[in-house]
């Protein structure tokens, strides 16, 4: 399984990618939605972990675009918003695969990735 991590906090996203790799999950990372769109051209990804709040284009918009192009791609959102209910309220229109609140626990993230992967395998 190959994962793409998208977040404008590069320190965060690079470390996360490294930690995932240590656990046997191949992960690439980019620092913006534009870079992500370029990256998916060069490489195939099963799942993308997207930060919701990013400058220029946010995670939700990015997901919409990627969804059109790669309907099989799975998505997990990362959000810095405090309240889960607000997140659910704001994105219910767009269809949410899953989300996590920062700062994330790596184990929780891996669980969600594995759950998404299981779905693929069906």
């Amino acid at each position: 399984m190959r994962i793409l991590l998208v977040d404008d906090e590069q320190e965060l996203v690079s470390t996360l990618a490294e930690r995932l790799s240590m656990r046997g999950i191949e992960a690439d990372w980019v620092g913006s939605a534009d870079e992500a769109l370029k990256q998916v051209e060069t490489q195939q990804y099963d799942l993308a972990v997207l930060d919701v709040k990013m400058p220029k284009m946010g995670g939700i918009r990015l997901k919409q675009i990627l969804d059109d192009k790669y309907p099989d791609m799975k998505f997990i959102f990362l959000t810095g918003h405090g309240s889960e209910s607000d997140f659910q309220q704001g994105t219910s229109e767009f269809g949410v695969t899953d989300y996590l609140v920062k700062p994330v626990k790596i184990e929780v993230l891996i669980e969600k990735i594995k759950a998404a992967a299981d779905k693929c395998k069906v």
Binding site: E11, G82, P103
Partner: protein, 574 residues
């Protein structure tokens, strides 16, 4: 409460205009006073002026009317009296013209004439013929009169000079009040003689008695010395001096106002009867005359008093009612502004908190991941695995991050609840969340906070944000009230099928009895100087009521305070 206290309207106490940021717009006492004064003045002053004017005008009219009436009466009576006396004079004149001295002197002639006169008139007492020397030559009448000489008497000299003489009333020889008319006649030969008749006063009295002089009025005749010629009711007997001063001479009828010996106001009308010694007097008491006017006055006065009372009552009631409503509306306005201000503050706080939380979350996340990576390196790479101390340090970093995360999460959760969202919640959970904010302060000051919730409490339908604010407020107040080492107890019990009781009790300084009623009023605070705005409890009160609950407070100075809150289990909000 005494009646007066009941009547005093509530806004009477609201004298201070400057209460907090939002002031009452009016001084209600002053408005009320002004309203009452102006309305009453506008209603009453014209009424009183008209009444006074009417009083003046009708009094003057009445008085003139009385004087006029009296004057007319006097004039008419004087005319009648004059005619009466003239008639008798003419009769005598005719007799003396028609009969020569000799005829008159003829024995029995005077008797015949007197009888004839009395058939027509009936009041001649006697008739005498007097010669130029003053000797009585012939006499007709009941009394024995012989050989009298009048030459030296004033009356004789008068009649000789003037030709006619009318006397005052007197008793004379005959002890009966009468008066005398004498006529002098000069014969063609140049000789003169006098015919003298005595008349009784009965007819005069009758004439006066028939006058309509009102119940207490008095009509009588006096002479120029003030001696009564006819009987008077009040001013003396016949031939006594009247007890009123003699009015001064006037050709015409005169009427004037005066007062008698007892200072009673009187109306006196008089007329000098020309060519006689008589003055006609008609005396009426003024009050009797003014009676009808007085009774009308009385009725009007009663009406005025009732009207004024009614007007005053209406003015007072209306003014109180209006000003009271103004006060109520203004009160509402001020309260609404308070609430809006509070909401504003909370919203600002919320935004601030959210901003802070967001800012912090990202670096937190980074720390988390870096520490996590270090921990991973220890786990996955053999060369670091053995250093337990380093592992511990890293874990400590990670747990601190988790603590921060919990705090920011809480902050954001609190600040977000500005809109109403009703959910099922466990009250105990909400309490504990709020206590989480204050746990550090409790720790520093060694304040023990216990939460005692009944087991198996049902969830309540309520708004989490409002509950958090209510609890935060009450617990903060409790913290402010207790000293270091104090105790705060929060109990939650099910009161009945629909209500949960939440009590927040402290063993702090307590609230004085005088202040207890005011604690829920906006801007009431004892925290001045320490940054207290006084908004907390009044907002708390409103929030609880918005949730459909109630709040009471009990306190003993020096021992502590307890707030008792009842909340409905089922939400009352739409």
């Amino acid at each position: 409460m005494s009646l007066l206290e009941k009547l005093i309207p509530k806004f009477w106490e609201q004298t201070d205009e400057a209460s907090g940021t939002y002031k009452y717009m009016f001084n209600f006492r002053r408005i009320w006073k002004q309203s009452v004064l102006i309305t009453a003045a506008v209603a009453l002053i014209p009424l009183l002026l008209i009444a006074a004017f009417d009083y003046r005008v009708t009094k003057d009219a009445m008085e003139s009317e009385i004087l006029l009436r009296t004057s007319r009466l006097v004039s008419n009576t004087r005319r009648t009296l004059s005619f009466f006396l003239d008639e008798r004079r003419f009769a005598l004149n005719f007799i003396i013209q028609d009969n020569t001295f000799d005829i008159l002197y003829y024995p029995g002639r005077l008797d015949v004439i007197m009888d004839n006169l009395n058939k027509a008139k009936g009041e001649i007492i006697d008739l005498s013929l007097i010669d130029a020397d003053g000797n009585m030559r012939e006499y007709a009448g009941h009394y024995k009169m012989e050989g009298i000489n009048y030459i030296s008497q004033d009356w004789f000299r008068h009649v000789v000079r003037e030709g006619v003489y009318i006397s005052d009333v007197f008793l004379g020889f005959r002890n009966v009040p009468h008066f005398v008319i004498a006529i002098r006649h000069t014969s063609p030969k140049g000789q003169f003689y006098v015919l003298r008749a005595s008349l009784d006063t009965e007819k005069l009295r009758d004439m006066l008695a028939q006058l309509e002089v009102s119940k207490q009025g008095d009509a009588f005749i006096i002479n120029k010395q003030g001696i009564l010629q006819t009987p008077s009711r009040y001013y003396g007997k016949v031939l006594e001096k009247m007890s009123l001063p003699v009015p001064e001479y006037s050709e015409r009828t005169q009427v004037f106002e005066t007062s008698d010996l007892n200072d009673k106001p009187m109306i006196i009308g008089y007329a000098y009867i020309t060519d006689t010694p008589f003055i006609l007097m008609i005396v009426k008491p003024k009050t009797e005359q003014m009676e009808s006017w007085q009774s009308t006055r009385l009725k009007l006065s009663v009406f005025m008093i009732i009207s004024i009372t009614v007007i005053l009552i209406v003015v007072l009631t209306m003014s109180t009612y209006l000003v009271n409503n103004i006060w109520l509306v203004d009160k509402k306005r001020v309260a609404t502004l308070h609430h809006a201000e509070y909401d504003n503050k909370m919203a600002s706080l919320g935004r601030l908190a959210a901003g802070v939380a967001h800012e912090i979350n990202n670096p937190l996340a980074i720390i988390n991941e870096k520490a996590g990576l270090i921990s991973d390196l220890f786990t996955f790479k053999a060369e670091y695995a053995k250093d337990e101390k380093l592992l511990r340090l890293v874990n400590s970093i990670i747990s601190s991050v988790e603590r921060c995360a919990a705090i920011t999460k809480r902050l954001l959760g609190f600040a977000r609840h500005t809109e109403v969202s009703i959910r099922l919640l466990h009250l105990e959970d909400v309490i504990n969340e709020v206590l989480g904010f204050l746990s550090k302060e409790a720790g520093y000051r060694s304040i023990s906070v216990t939460v005692d919730a009944e087991p198996e409490l049902p969830q309540i339908e309520s708004d989490k944000g409002k509950l958090q604010q209510i609890l935060l407020n009450l617990i903060n107040n409790a913290f402010a009230a207790v000293e270091d080492g104090g105790q705060i107890e929060i109990t939650v019990r099910r009161k009945n099928a629909n209500t949960i009781m939440l009590n927040v009790q402290d063993n702090g300084c307590g609230i004085p009895e005088a202040d207890i009623e005011k604690v829920f009023e906006p801007f009431f605070t004892t925290k001045s100087g320490k940054g207290g705005t006084g908004l907390g409890l009044s907002i708390t009160y409103n929030l609880i009521h918005e949730l459909g609950g109630t709040i009471y407070v009990n306190s003993i100075i020096g021992e502590g305070t307890i707030f008792l809150i009842a909340l409905p289990i089922k939400s009352v909000m739409c």
